[in-house]
Amino acid sequence: MTGDASSRPSWWRRVAIYLYQRPNLSLVLLLALPLLWLAVFYLGALVSLLIQSFFKLDGFTGRIVRQFGLETYQQLFTAANMDVVYRTVIMAAVVSVACAVLAFPLAYFMARYASYRVRGILYLAVLIPLWSSYLVRVYTWKIILAQEGIITWFFNVLGLKPVLDALLAIPLIGGSSLSFSFIGMFLVFVYIWLPYMVLPINAALERVPKSLIEASSDLGGRPNYTFWRVILPLTVPGIIAGSIFTFSLTLGDYIIPSVIGNSSFFIGRAVFAQQGTAGNIPLAAAFTVVPMVIMGVYLVVAKRLGAFDAL
């Protein structure tokens, strides 16, 4: 007890005692703001989106008919629109796998071998790109990948021009230059989303106790065996977490497909075009439901396969 013993406790202390004795009220006060935010801006927006996707656009008047129906989904499942979905999903999957393959060794080095100092530098190196404008980085890549860009120049210097030409001559993923091809788009996606894969894998690896690796080695496990039986299974939740980022970010992105590549539609661009240019908000909403369903299925499958057992 401090202060004058004869005076009543200050109102601030009385409030503190009052709250201390009512843990439920404290919890409500703690969570009120974030819950309100979640309910209104996340769930509210999501429900509104879902409802919109069941409305339809009257093709004649250009007005939205506020009646529940599946016409918009019929429209979504036409061949042209499904092409957009497939293209996006395949790109998202390939980007996620590439990010995981690139991120794992880096994250492993950071978690197991790097000194305190080197680890700090690597964290910075991973995070610094996130500090600069996303748009600037995408346009920078357009220049890097262009016909006159540094990559083409580099291939020329090394005398590997035929290799680049052969790469660009591959149907579907090739193009007139890297910046106008799916290969280029893939490279930019991987570049942009890589940090979102490195950090969760690194966090998962740091949670694997060193003694487990020693125990495996002690029981006769060579490093290769230890990796597949101990390290990887315990890191899978981190890889899944990272792939949720890379997968869903690729599914929803519309800037990279607009700037890089051969201007074919991806889900993000389709949403943008439907709701902005065409004014077809129901179809835009239906397109947005696709990534949500895919992510939901992905998580259920991952859980069934036991990816989260080690959590």
């Binding site: 020693e214 125990a215 002690d218 029981l219 006769g220 039986r229 057992d309 080690a310």
Partner: protein, 367 residues
């Protein structure tokens, strides 16, 4: 030691150093552990005992010296090469997975994503033991550690003591020639710990494997070991059987760390032993007798007064201030006395006597 001549040596460390920069975790260590013995590495934290164990397991690499397991050298010189050019030599160790030793880790290190059965079968899987035999051996060893039928449980579902047994089973199932235990009982409560001490000792006698046991608990080391080594600052102070370590400590550190003792030096040592060389006498070797009691031949007597009394149930510890300076701690069993009696003895004038042969002359530094 004569008693061990003819027994084969399981672990032999010769002049082994393990330095981390300026820190000498293990410093010029010599150690021989015989086949089939229960050997403890005892010392305070940071004394190098765990590093010593990890050197035997292969998790740490010696800076210099030689480590032999059953006569096979684990530390070898290899040429240091840059490209194809040899520029010198470096010490390399045989990796842990090539050594016929298994470890029970301090934190148990059970694989959280595997069942108890898969954890225990891990080493057998690597050795490609056929499934039927694997299952039989896993269930046998789980019987041995008194966890029958626990194969399908997950480590997270087990108590600390049960995890400890699984860790033991996982190591034992491989039938290693040497089992290394890194403070395996450290996380258990006192009762469970005493029970596990008895069980561990029984299992060791049953399987006949060499146990190398790291502990900071001197009582544990004394009760369980055939022999033990007392570690201090990266070096071994003394190696011997428990009674030898307790009764005949050669250094002040050993006398003070293993049990409690009166460490006496300077003027008091001169008065008691006739030389100013530091000596040790255990509190229970000093008898507190009536002032007029006769002193037996070969015994020494001094007078003092009781300054402090600590009642410990089974026995009482007295701090006695000697006439002429200095004090001694004396322990007496409470055979007929009660706590009221012993507390009443505070301030009493008493006579202390002891057999002069129970005085130990010490070398080296004290605690």
């Amino acid at each position: 030691m004569a008693a061990h001549s003819g027994r084969s040596i399981a672990v032999k460390m010769t002049d082994v150093c393990r330095h981390f920069g300026d820190v000498k975790a293990v410093d010029h260590l010599d150690l021989e552990i015989y086949d089939g013995e229960f050997f403890s590495l005892l010392g305070p934290s940071g004394s190098g005992k765990t590093t010593c164990l990890r050197l035997i397991a292969g998790f740490e690499h010696a800076t210099s010296g030689s480590i032999e397991l059953h006569g096979v050298e684990m530390v070898k010189w290899a040429p240091r090469r840059i490209g194809f050019v040899t520029v010198g030599q470096r010490l390399v160790s045989v990796p842990p997975y090539e050594r016929d030793v298994n470890t029970v880790f301090q934190d148990y290190a059970l694989f959280p994503h595997m069942s108890v059965g898969d954890n225990v079968a891990y080493g057998l899987m690597i050795q490609k033991v056929p499934k039927a035999e694997r299952q039989r051996r896993v269930s046998e060893v789980l019987d041995l550690v008194r966890l029958p039928g626990y194969e399908s449980r997950k480590p997270a579902q087990l108590s600390g003591g049960q995890r400890q047994r699984v860790a033991l089973a996982r190591a034992l199932v491989n039938r290693p020639r040497v089992l290394l235990l890194d403070e395996p009982l450290g996380a258990l409560d006192l009762k469970l710990r005493q029970q596990m001490q008895i069980e561990l000792k029984a299992i060791q006698q049953q399987v006949g494997i060499t146990f190398v046991f790291v502990t900071h608990d001197q009582e544990e080391a004394l009760t369980m070991s055939d022999r033990l080594a007392v570690f201090n600052r990266g070096r071994i102070e003394q190696i011997g059987v428990p009674a030898e370590i307790y009764e005949r400590p050669t250094t002040g550190f050993v006398a003070g760390f293993v049990g409690t003792t009166n460490l006496i030096s300077g003027a008091l040592a001169q008065r008691i032993n006739g030389s100013d060389q530091a000596v040790s006498i255990r509190p229970e070797k000093i008898h507190m007798v009536a002032l007029d009691a006769a002193v037996e031949p070969g015994w020494k007597a001094v007078m003092g007064s009781v300054r402090d009394v600590i009642y410990l149930g089974m026995h009482t510890r007295y701090l006695v201030e000697l006439e002429g300076g200095g004090d001694l701690t004396v322990v007496q069993q409470n055979l007929e006395t009660s706590s009221i009696d012993v507390h009443a003895s505070r301030g009493n004038r008493v006579k202390l006597t002891w057999d002069t042969t129970s005085i130990r002359v010490l070398q080296g530094q004290t605690v």
